[in-house]
């Protein structure tokens, strides 16, 4: 009992420590004060108005959204194909390829950023839209390879083999048998890729050139002055992330949650 209570106490303290800053930011975003102040002296939506009323912020929001959709869809298609090859393929070096896809998740982001900067400069794509999308694909593809790879691994290969013997080509087997059974994992992977792109800042700072994304703009603004508009944007970003995680939770709930799906039962 004693140990149980201690565990609970540590848990609560940790949770408060993690959640507190978020709550403070959310609280300040609804403040009526002209500077960062907590607790807020009064409530208002002025910082949200300031965000949506500023064409530069709106433009950054549009850029971020388009970038997130473009890169996450490309990452979903390429990452799923890669996961299929890695899991079901019978060629040597699969482990190496797998590790290669995972690298951006493990290597310090600043290293990835410098690498992307040099690589894109070399091929003349630095500061272009294509280069920006490509760099976000590299960053979000590990989530797709991870989630979809686990889903394929836990799908009984004999079901695909039976499809072959029943006359289905490899393409038919993938589209008619494998993909329909992967829908929840594909949706989760896509949402994770979407979020990964939407809140990315370091690599974007290096390679985006004139393109302004929301996080990049926030970063630049913070360097110049501390404006409470930032808290409104942060709140919006938090809300989007929470909704996305809730969506993943709902999608995978029937199979015991994302974590269990990923661990593979």
């Amino acid at each position: 009992m004693k140990a149980g209570r201690l565990t609970a106490l540590v848990g609560i303290v940790t949770l408060v420590f993690l959640v507190m800053p978020i709550l403070i930011v959310v609280g300040m975003s609804f403040s009526s004060a002209s500077s960062l102040q907590f607790p807020p002296p009064g409530l208002s939506l002025r910082w949200y108005r300031s965000f949506f009323g500023d064409p530069r912020w709106v433009e950054a929001l549009v850029t971020s959204t388009m970038l997130a959709f473009a890169s996450s869809i490309v990452a979903l298609v390429l990452g799923s194909a890669a996961a299929y090859g890695i899991v079901r393929g019978r060629f040597p070096g699969r482990g190496f390829i797998d590790a290669n896809f995972m690298a951006p998740l493990i290597v310090p982001t600043i290293v990835v950023a410098v690498a992307m900067y040099l690589a894109l400069a070399k091929v003349g794509l630095l500061g272009t839209w294509v280069g920006l999308v490509a760099s976000h694909v590299v960053l979000s593809v590990p989530f797709v390879v991870l989630v979809v790879g686990v889903a394929i691994r836990s799908f009984d290969e004999r079901i695909e083999q039976v499809a072959f013997t029943l006359g289905a080509s490899r393409l038919q087997t993938v589209t008619r048998v494998l993909l329909p059974n992967l829908v929840p994992s594909l949706a989760s992977a896509w949402i994770l890729a979407l979020i990964a792109s939407f809140d990315e800042v370091i690599v974007t700072l290096f390679v985006a050139g004139v393109y302004q994304t929301v996080p990049k703009r926030m970063f630049n603004e913070l360097v110049l002055e501390v404006n409470p508009t930032i808290t409104a944007i942060a709140t919006i970003l938090i809300a989007v992330s929470v909704l996305a995680m809730a969506a993943i939770g709902l999608i995978t709930a029937r199979r015991g949650g994302l974590l269990k799906t990923m661990i593979g039962r």
Binding site: I159, L166, R176
Partner: protein, 353 residues
Amino acid sequence: MGAIEFDGVAKRYGPVHAVRDLSVQVAEGEFLTILGPSGSGKTTILSLVAGLTAPSAGRILIAGRDVTHLEPQQRRIGLVFQSYALFPHLDVFDNVAFPLVVRGRPKVEIAAKVAAALARVRLDGLARRRPQQLSGGQQQRVALARAFVFEPDILLLDEPLGALDRKLREEVQVELKALQRDLGITTLLVTHDQEEALSLSDRIIVLDHGAMQQVGTPDEVYRRPANRFVAGFLGLANLLEGRVEAGRGLRLGSGELVACATGTRPEGSAAAAIVRPERVRLLPESAGEGIAARVRQDVYLGHLRRWHLDADAGQELVAAATDGDQSAAIGDRVRVSWSPADVWLLPEAGAAA
């Protein structure tokens, strides 16, 4: 329809010989069972026929055509796995329709063929159920219907009855046999259950460590096993070891002579013979013939009663009879006898253990 020919087929996984030098012909329309213990290479043989794995050596011919290097899609084979491997996202109808759909058959034809196949396995009312909503026996029948609905040349069944309880298994065995005969389809069935093998098959291949030990009719492999492994795997057997006395029988180590046909075995060569328990008679101690023994155990099996005996010379023996036909209690002294015709001298070389 097609006959299958294995021509020196072998499969290695690194150091493991999953299948060794298999050469055997399966006739068109034949029901052949592959029987062997776990890990003996049964599933590997089926995957080789289905084209899911490539052999390390040898050729496989179906209906005279070399299919060794053909993709599974081009082999016209219906496969049922032990786990059934139904498509979880499709209902019963769509599962069975799958092979016809991927072949692009017209809707009307698909509907008619699927309905006929489902009726054949008595699943008419369940067409719109998902696999998860079916019992094991029903899932097994869906897998079977899916495997024959597109009229393949060959049916491959990997322990299809393994997951069913005993009573259901016996029912489905009868159905399966009838279905196979109606369709006249060449069938390879894998099992490690000797009763299933004996009751269903035209012929049986007995497999051990990837090597074929014997191929023959159920009667042949049961009554005239090629070696000790086959004799032991197809049920209980009394193993008698000794030296051949040409024209008379087998002289056991204990000095007793077991009368049997000795064929061309040279005088004095080491040999082993078997007698099945149900061929063994128990006689009263006063009888002049037979081996003297004491009853160690008396096992009641319902339809049968079985006695485990210790011969005075140290040999362990087993006898079995329909309950009521013979009787003996634990500790009784008896004499054990059989007719020379029921002694089978194992043809294996170097019988001395």
